[in-house]
Symmetry: C2
DNA sequence: GTCTATATCTTGATAGAC
DNA sequence: GTCTATCAAGATATAGAC
């Protein structure tokens, strides 16, 4: 196995290059030529590793879906509401902060959305996470708070205004803020 | 002026068709052929009304930017903090609810983002809105709450889970929830 | 595993008839 | 103001040499 490349095998470098370009230009705005150029190979080399562009999309998205699924399952495994929330928020925020500007782009990209919707194993992940956040409440108000926190965390974590915060600080700020916002609907459980 | 079309002149129908398709497939995922087909004309007819695809993007985006600018300016014209917040939130939520599923897609689309960033008159709209939300606070915590509310409102207003709420109800729910979340940082002003 | 070369299709855009 | 016909460029994808 030829390992004369700067960092790791070509397949993984292709996935990383694609990830960055997808986030910046969208999937439709990123040609295989751009991806190949990014790591210094030709289009044909890309096609050796991935039979089609869709396969590349799948390779880019899958690790994130797996990580998210693991977080949701871990949270569902907890029993007390506070623990479920902490596990879910902590896990999601870790994912967001570790990737920063990528999540919004990936989540909003029409091609990726369609790809994810086409995978039955992953389709209800968003709803399961939402149910965990809502807890026992099922009214409209709780739903709206849940939606605002979900979308708001993803949006905030990608903001250029927070770019100079280090990961640890950003994680802590997002977690406490999300906790406090979600606490609005259940003020009694807060100390 | 030939007015033998189902609804209004062709130019406006093209803009509306483009808006819907952009939101669904993204700008790069929407060909001029698709837009032409949508209203039953040919590509060449599109090019009569818009010299280039970018001009169509501009025609789609401009009304929203103008509306947003009007809201921000109206809010900046108020003097008391509570009035500024109410004007801003009310205006933005009206825009979101009136268009629902469009805003997230438009805001996240790389082509549209680039187009907006290239218009100096509109570039600082987001920051001005953010400053209005933050009020006198300038710390990280206030910034994060502002970001979460901004992104969260846009995200929530597009959620399928809220699709069956009528506009009036959705508006009211979003407004009171946003108000309460922003109230976290200034609990003294809330009775 | 990576290359050159090419096939095929779709795109944004133009020319000119009506 | 809309059409048919066409162009040049760029896209995904394939074939076959090394």
């Amino acid at each position: 196995m030829a390992r004369n490349n700067p960092a790791g095998d070509v397949r993984e470098r292709l996935v990383q290059a694609a990830l960055g370009l997808f986030a910046q230009h969208g999937v439709n705005g990123t040609s295989l030529q751009m991806i190949a150029d990014e790591i210094g190979v030709t289009k044909a080399a890309v096609y050796y590793h991935f039979p089609s562009k869709e396969d590349l999309v799948e390779a880019v998205v899958t690790p994130y879906l797996r990580d998210l699924a693991a977080v949701v399952e871990a949270a569902e495994g907890r029993h007390r509401r506070a623990d479920r929330l902490d596990t879910l928020l902590g896990g999601i925020i870790d994912l967001l902060v570790d990737n920063r500007e990528l999540h919004i782009a990936l989540q909003a990209d029409p091609v990726i959305r369609r790809h994810v919707d086409g995978r039955p194993d992953m389709r209800d992940l968003g709803m399961r996470a939402g149910l965990l956040m809502m807890g026992t409440r099922t009214d409209t108000h709780a739903l709206i708070i849940t939606l605002i926190v979900s979308g708001g965390l993803a949006y905030a974590s990608t903001s250029p205004y927070l770019a100079d915060l280090d990961d640890t600080e950003l994680r802590r700020e997002l977690h406490t803020t999300a906790r406090r916002i979600l606490g609005i609907k259940t003020p009694i459980t807060q100390h």
